[in-house]
Homo-oligomer: 169 residues x 2
């Protein structure tokens, strides 16, 4: 390989790196923008935070209820301590702790009837907002986006590895 | 329109709604997964939080420095109070406050030389991680994704509107 080819490849690699970074920042900013809009509307129209809505959404899908650890694991958004979210929702009688037979120290969390009803109203509005916020894309484009994100999801991050960057600079 | 057509349309609308919601949850989970991996690696390999890295990245792009309000506005990630992030980075001599001539109460924030050098090392690793995390997609697929997200970005959320959902349930 001559020097010129080498330089070209380095430039191309650099351009690729840069394109990946731009793509990531675009992905992050699109997601953040939609999430912030949903967060704001939930607060304004229903007086509820996004993590509280998210927690109720996890429970809605599980008629048998969920253990606390499972609730934490399934949350889609960060922010807010799960225990304090649960305490607050329980005070408002939207969720309840159910005893687990044979295990006095455990409980499962479910929505109350009022919780189901409140969540249904919010979920309907939420779904309409999501549809509106994704509406710049045609149905076909939304399918393409879903397929590309499906491919992206296959990534298995290497969370541990030995690299020269390991040391703190 | 007869009743059958009406039902078909409702079902299709319901299916569309549901597809939009699934797409949004996929977008959110892809972004969160990449963000969490980057957050973890920054912490493990450089002992720095994502908001601190983000703040340094904003300053790196502005040799003239930024006012505090502008720094807050440009942050890509949430979490962490900007003032306390700045205080900590200043103690580590990675950022500095520069006086604004003629305005004793204002200052602009810039990276120090040590800040530039530390950020350069982290940015190189960060760029390689992003490239790795996006690598399930070919270059062509990454271009397609960037184009679709570019279209999505054109959305202008209606942040205020009068709707029957306005009242707290």
């Amino acid at each position: 390989m001559n020097a010129r080819q080498n330089t070209d490849m380095e430039q191309r690699a650099h351009a690729d790196h840069h394109a990946s970074l731009r793509l990531w920042l675009r992905l992050l900013s699109c997601t953040t923008r939609i999430e912030d809009t949903i967060r704001q509307r939930l607060r304004e129209q229903f007086g509820i935070t996004l993590p509280r809505f998210d927690l109720m959404a996890q429970l809605e899908r599980e008629p048998e209820g969920l253990a606390m650890g499972e609730v934490s694991r399934r949350m889609m958004v960060t922010g807010g301590n799960v225990t304090s979210i649960v305490d607050q929702l329980e005070r408002e009688q939207l969720v309840q702790r159910l005893a687990v037979p044979g295990d006095r120290r455990s409980f499962r969390l479910t929505l109350t009837d009022a919780g189901h009803s409140t969540f249904a109203t919010m979920a309907q509005a939420h779904q309409a907002w999501v549809r509106e916020l994704l509406s710049p894309l045609s149905t076909k484009e939304q399918s393409q986006l879903a397929a590309l994100l499906g491919t992206l999801k296959t990534v298995t991050p290497r969370t541990t590895r030995s690299s020269p960057c390991k040391e703190k600079p």
